[in-house]
Symmetry: D2
């Protein structure tokens, strides 16, 4: 998908508009089509609100069809038959194409139990989640009644659509759909930012193997040149951030024990607000460290 200016969306033909935004809602170009009637849009938030209004005001059977148009998560048969490019990228981004056997079985069980109870697919905005959090959310949602889950499905569809719109449309305003995860290493032994500390961010999984999200190294400010995660939601889930402080202090000729008391420092924490800025700093000496949820 290439990006398009809000001004162009306001000026273009209805067909071009639908061509640009028809896939924002899975298999439902009628939503973009009807949204053209609300043109012109001041910005992307107004555009997105117009599309939501179309869905909000649609007949119940249309809304149900929209829901049912969504694929299962991590369903091999559906993947083989072909997903939309958007769904495929979103599911793969959450690692749903690289599940362990135990995770695969868990997803099958979840999809099946959910469909059996509610008659609709289990819909989650995959880009806001990790494997773990998708499965955990299911446990919270399964006991609900059908009306609640129809609404939950619509809400998740809005989140999926908002992210698709945010990446498609260029506008001065922005949808509030991205978060950020950052870190900072302060060397309290020398009273300076710690430069050159290797950092690894890993997504933990209860059922499968851990997945490396990113590896980087601190710069002269003790920060990373880019946030660990940015320009996207920070997926809800459990992470471990590991700092190679042993090599760092060894490189500075700081006297320590052998082996060093602290070598690889893991900080394990969970993300609960994908659209927020979460800062997880490390204040460290060869003999002590501290961290906190910063912002």
């Amino acid at each position: 998908m290439s990006s398009i200016l809000i001004a162009d969306l306001n000026a273009c033909s209805r067909d071009d508009f639908v061509a640009a935004l028809g896939n924002v809602f899975e298999y439902s170009p009628w939503i973009a089509e009807q949204a053209t009637l609300a043109r012109p849009f001041d910005g992307v938030q107004q555009l997105f609100d117009a599309m939501k209004t179309v869905v909000d005001q649609a007949a119940p059977e249309l809304r149900l069809a929209l829901i049912k148009g969504h694929p299962d998560l991590a369903n091999k048969a559906q993947r083989a038959a072909g997903l939309t490019a958007e769904s495929s990228a979103e599911q793969n981004g959450a690692g749903l194409d690289r599940l362990s056997d135990a995770e695969f079985e868990a997803f099958e069980r979840v999809n099946s139990a959910y469909r059996t109870k509610f008659g609709i697919p289990y819909i989650v905005c995959a880009r806001r989640h990790t494997r773990n959090s998708i499965l955990r959310d299911f446990e919270h949602r399964l006991p609900n009644d059908t009306a609640t889950e129809v609404q939950n499905s619509i809400d998740e569809i809005y989140r999926i659509a908002a992210l698709r719109v945010a990446e498609l449309v260029v506008s001065e305003d922005r949808l509030d759909v991205f978060g950020r995860l950052s870190t900072h290493v302060l060397d309290a032994h020398s009273g300076r930012p710690a430069a050159g500390v290797a950092i690894e961010l890993v997504e933990l999984s209860d059922l499968g193997i851990s997945r490396v999200v990113t590896r980087t190294i601190t710069n002269a400010d003790g920060r990373t040149d880019q946030p660990l995660i940015h320009h996207r939601p920070v997926p809800i889930g459990c992470y471990e951030l590991t700092f190679s402080v042993g090599p760092y202090f060894a490189g500075r000729q700081v006297a320590t024990s052998n082996p060093p008391f602290l070598d690889q420092i893991p900080l394990r924490f969970s993300v609960s607000e994908p659209e927020s800025h979460l800062h997880v700093p490390l204040l460290v000496t060869p003999w002590s460290y501290a961290t906190y949820r910063g912002s």
Copy 2:
């Protein structure tokens, strides 16, 4: 092995003395035998020094025989043929009877390379070590010359013997052969010691699987009723101490995020001085924590 009073060792017959202490040095009752000549002993330190003096003053070929009398570490054939009860317990205590395949191969390689170069077995006081540190020490010792390694072997044999003596002999004085690892959880959210926090101590291994050393729970003082490791050397190596703070704060109805920012907090650290007291406390809120090497 049952314990014996220093007074009884001073008063008993030479045969009974050797019966009691003959296994302190592997397959070398002659050391205990000659040490009887130095009786009476004020205490266990004087007794142990007398035994060391016997070894220090022994002819080189006797010392070499003492060294060669020691088994390889984690050698299956030797285990099948039978180790002394002491060696077996000491090796098992370090987990050498439950190695992963990769560790097994590493130990075979180490034993063989060491024997090939020096003509003697690779001797390490296993109770002062973990699987990892035994293999790491080897890397430091292999480049040495033979004279250095003969002395290193004797030093390790003294450490082995000191621990055997410390457990056999009851005396007012003590050999300085035991260390201690302890922890303490302070809840800085409530300003109180954190009671009821589940704690797990795991020995990490580069080549094998982690091994649970102990599981326990904090008492009303935020401490554990017993130190995590005590009445023995704290094995040199890398550990992870994990605190279940998520359930702790949930049990106190403290408002947090969902999932909680902090749930299982791992502190990863190394032990370098087996005979010291190492204190690794946790100062924690639902949003921050700190640790340091205390004493």
Copy 3:
């Protein structure tokens, strides 16, 4: 006052008993006299409870006389006329003999306002308080009704009496009337307890000048040989504990800035529970520090 064994108090004559304990309640030997009837006592707690029971069961006018027998706090005229030795020592211990002019006026105002409203002296167990906390408590008590303040007076008299008994009587059990204030300095730059750090504890005052409670220096364990305050209640109030870390790190040849970022570190905190153990540690590098309420 010299100390006396509980066994001797059980065995001695009624006159000797009263001679020993007659001053426990200010100008009221009749309380000790009646308490002899409850002999023998298992220990000091039982003895003290018996004395309280005498007061609890005394006629209202006797209780009022007991209350009225107490001196004002920091009253110059009464001091000139002579206080009991006990009252004098207790008031002086709280610094009531060295008030600033502003404090003096405040105490006069308090005594007078209290007497005017309730017809009795304002009674506080001075050993549990600082100048500040006595004046603050007054603000809380003045709005009360007379019945409440009669009871509050009796409660304070019990606290005064309990401390006098605790210092007079030797018994295996102890009255729970003493607290403790301690500290500990951990040098996170070297990973060791900080030895040789000069420490000053000061009692702060809103109206007067600060008063040095104690000056000391840390030992090899980073602790003080004696707790900062012990064998007595820790007076309710606000304190500043100052650590000379600049000289400490300079003495260890640790490179810092000029002047050093941290030189004299003040920790300002309040005591609210005089009978508890309060631990206020300092975890410090030349560039950072942390403290917490420990126990």
Copy 4:
């Protein structure tokens, strides 16, 4: 003094140039005059370097005259007779017009001892200093020989001049003469920035009374809207930054002790690098806090 564009300084007449910059060096318009020969200047750094070159290449007697043209610090007679507007503002900014008697005597002694030994006034760039650091620097400089102090005087004059130029001249580049002192309060009890915390920054003085530098309050980010000190050098000296955390936590209905364990938290630290960015954060709960030198 009003500001002037570098382009205008390049284009204006020699007289206008001298009119604009004649006071950059105290009573020495000849320096600006000669610097006009080096026009045009790319920016303010090049301009300032040109002025320094004039001084560097001036005859020794001219340089000495420049030095001798400077006033004493805190000299009442000279103040009465009139200082340049620049000197007056600079000295007042450092509080030299509001000295305690003891400080006044100290400055008199310093000026006199320095003049007696070296025959020149004791010159310090007052905007980079506090009362304390001026007096401390004197102790370091008095033992020097005359050549060293002539050079030190020139260096201080350059610092004074650089600050005057930086405030006079508008250019795309900047002289590196300003620093910054900032803070940040993170509430580790709630895991959020602490908003609404009153903060007071005080300059401490060994001989005089403390001087409030600024009072402010944290915003929604736990920061202050403006840095505590900025757009100027951060004066070398000792400071105390006090945070009103008692009222903050009380306002959030957090249960604490009475009186609260922590109420006013003082952080006492020194500034050694006036042109750097110094960040002094507070990480706090009702029962614990930590700080560190950040950047």
